[in-house]
Amino acid sequence: MALPAGLSRKLGKLLGPQWVDKDPADLLVYQSDGLTLHAATPDVVVYPETTEQCARIIKTCASYGAPFVARGAGTGLSGGAISDGGVIIQLSRMNRVLQIDHRNRFAIVQPGVVNNYLNLQVRPFGLEFAPDPSSQAACTIGGNVAENAGGPHTLKYGVTSNHILGQTVVFPDGSIEQLGGTFPLAAGPDFSAFLVGTEGTIAITTEVIVRLTPLAPSVKTMLATFPTVAGATESVSAILSAGVLPAALELIDNLCIQAVEAHLKAGFPTEAAAILLIELDGEESEIANESAPVEKACRQNGATDFRVAQGEDERQQLWRGRKHAVGSLGKLSPAFYTNDGVVPRSKLTTILSEIYRIGSKHSLRVANVCHAGDGSMHPLVLFDPTTADGAARAMECSEEILLACLEIGGSITGEHGVGVEKRHMMNRMFSARDLEHMARLRTAFNPHDLLNPGKVLPGGATRGEVKAGVSIPGGSWI
């Protein structure tokens, strides 16, 4: 789609020409986010530094009728940060921590601040920003807000929406609004909270007030080894029914273990059908009381080994294995497709055996890492991208897996959002009426559908259909 004449010149005047990219090589790299199966090329990419610049960019785009999309680090896994034509507003230069108030436990940050970077800044005060997606080394707070990101520690500390006190946003008409504040008791509806998880389709976040959480005084990380997957999943329920709420409760299956050990050597037992990585945190005495029931629950469900990480180094090594588990799969297969489904915790055993069954039906290997405590699944479908129908078969298999999640009362996305990837499945999960309400809500704020068009909602007012499978750079995954 050609850009209206004059728009990029105007944008250049606003930001300085070096912060407006429009050459083919500069644009090509924005073809996809973390999901390479969908690709689309923008016409222009701009790099603002302030809220005011964002507002002016948006007003300018709106006056030309040009669509625009916000982008953080582009680690999203559902094709949310891509744009077919139009303008990408890349927020990486808005990367300053503006204020840390350690007494009142909040920080004000620009949206391009990387999750890990914020944590490095607040850790000396004994505080953390609790949401810890596995991508936290690179993903931005703005992206976390837009996707309502979660992570291993979500089980105890909740998802991003539990940690956002307020935001400054720019609406698609270019108006700047401050929502929420530095303390949680403001009167009226929590409009900031409503925006969390809207995948950048209602407003662009330009400042975030995040809640900071005190670091747990002590932490204990344990690894339980199981000869069967069911043993591991049953232990999850047993641990939680014993009244223990671990900070994290992660399941990793054999194929993932193989990948991690081939590449990183985290110390995972390669013979296990599955392992549980269990983390307890809190006061030392509290942890001491909780360890025994956890071990008992695992042993009763057939754990053959139960190990406590000795020292911070070993603990970090185990977590590195977990956080890099998905990336390591690149060592086993040139391509794989990461899914993101949720099931009720009680259905973990059922869904995993169903996933393996669906995989073998399609003759595809499926590896699993799950935030098991939350019933949040990441089935990873390994495939060969060089065969003609490799990707298509993997997608078919994935879709079947997600439908299986829905069937047992779950959801087609837990953390990674809908983006372009799962738009077409929205009507399997929501009724036509629900979808209509969502569309009306979006239209109320985004009347001309200029902000992040074509995302999340099926069909609807989509500008520029996103093409699947165009020039996939590298392997592929969600």
Binding site: D23, S32, Q90, C139, G330
Partner: protein, 415 residues
């Protein structure tokens, strides 16, 4: 190029925030993931035959390999970059104009001597001090002048004997090692070589210096000039063929990386070992008193990311200093990156500014590193900032700690 290696990138983006150019510019095309996509675009001819835009982003890559450390998928970025740059070089793209002459100078001992004499002459008449303060000179040029160490009249190997006996305080001799003396290290950083030799001898090792050891071709490889690099690598192997030693010790991280990466070896098969690794394992006589100054360490990329040598320098500094202060982003590149600081001066200075901010946030009096390029660049950044911080190789810091001891000074005739 190597298609399958490119395929290993799964486009996850986890490398982005470790990349110095991305940290400064915030542009995807100047991130590792972006550059890999551009390499692929060049490979697949996705840019309608005009690759200049893509090369511009590859040119300002530092080759610092931080992306390799952070990549969960084990993408061999360094390999791919060198392959792409080789492709550029062969296609005779006039890279940066300056690059080829500079690489020629470094490859030749004679040219390097002339360059050193010129620099020394400038220093003797103190013209360098004046030039540093001359605002009309571009900052990258002033930076080079500010960072230069005091150039000695002769390269280290010209003045030193070729064989040093061990000199341990307990008289015990523990072995015999050779020192890879190199090019810039030998011509400009003789003080580091001298400290290396003393520290080795004090811990019980005889030290042999090779004759006519010159450049290992590291800078040539990084720039994609593989033919020159091959010749230099071969020549430097010959020099060690006749030397019997338990190990070849190297005190330049960049050269150590080059030798490891190219699986370099001489006829005797003696392993090449970085001085930090060797000393951390063989510190038989740790300093009796530790230095009191506030000191911080900046990890050379080719040590930390390239060779995975992360702990040993810190262990040695702990043995030598009481006041080690970790600075933020210590494992992020300083912008030196071989001759990058000259060929991509503007970008290099932006990266250096961020580095100096981080270093000064812990207010050190001394800064330790372990590579000549970083040594020069960091000293430059600190001098231009007016900060009175002394940059030293890790082994020099260790030597300084030893020097607090009279018998050490007496043994080596230090007054």
């Amino acid at each position: 190029m190597e298609q399958n290696l490119l395929q290993e990138c799964i486009h996850c983006g986890l490398c982005l925030s470790s990349c110095p150019t991305y940290l400064v510019l915030g542009k995807e095309a100047d991130s590792p993931r972006g550059r890999l996509a551009l390499m692929k675009a060049i490979e697949d001819d996705q840019l309608q035959g005009d690759n200049t835009g893509a090369f511009a982003h590859l040119d300002i890559c530092l080759g610092c390999l931080a992306c390799q450390t952070s990549c969960p998928s084990g993408v061999q970025y360094g390999h791919l970059l060198e392959a792409t740059r080789g492709y550029q070089y062969v296609n005779d793209r006039q890279l940066f104009g300056l690059q080829k002459p500079l690489l020629k100078i470094i490859a030749s001992p004679t040219y390097l001597r002339w360059l050193s004499r010129l620099a020394r002459a400038l220093q003797l008449i103190r013209l360098d001090r004046l030039l540093i303060r001359l605002p009309i000179l571009p900052r990258p040029v002033r930076s080079q002048l500010a960072g230069l160490p005091k150039i000695p009249p002769q390269p280290f190997t010209r003045t030193a004997p070729s064989d040093f006996p061990s000199a341990a305080p307990d008289g015990q001799r523990r072995g015999r090692v050779a020192l890879f003396t190199g090019c810039v290290m030998d011509h400009w950083y003789g003080t580091v070589h001298a400290a290396t030799v003393r520290v080795l001898r004090w811990n019980g090792y005889d030290v042999v210096l090779p004759v006519d050891n010159h450049c290992c071709g590291a800078l040539h490889s990084h720039a994609g000039d593989h033919d020159t690099a091959d010749v230099l690598l071969k020549n430097s192997a010959k020099v060690f063929d006749q030397i019997e030693a338990d190990a070849i010790i190297i005190n330049s991280a960049g050269c150590g990386y080059q030798l490891a990466e190219k699986q370099w070896h001489c006829a005797t098969g003696a392993p090449v070992i970085d001085i930090c690794v060797w000393m951390a394992a063989n510190l038989h006589h740790p300093p009796q008193t530790r230095l009191g100054q506030r000191i911080t360490y900046d990890a050379p990329c080719h040590l930390f990311h390239g060779q995975g040598i992360t702990r040993e320098p810190l262990q040695l500094l702990d043995a030598a200093c009481q006041n080690m202060l970790p600075a933020p982003e210590a494992e992020v590149c300083c912008g030196s990156a071989g001759i990058y600081s000259i060929t991509q001066g503007h970008m290099s200075q932006q990266i250096l500014d961020r580095k100096i901010d981080n270093i000064m946030s812990v207010e050190p009096r001394m800064l330790a590193t372990a590579n000549p390029g970083c040594h020069l660049q960091l000293q430059a950044g600190l001098r231009l900032r007016g900060a009175n911080v002394d940059v030293r190789h890790v082994v020099e810091v260790l030597d300084l700690a030893y020097q607090q001891d009279d018998s050490y000074r007496r043994t080596f005739g230090i007054v």
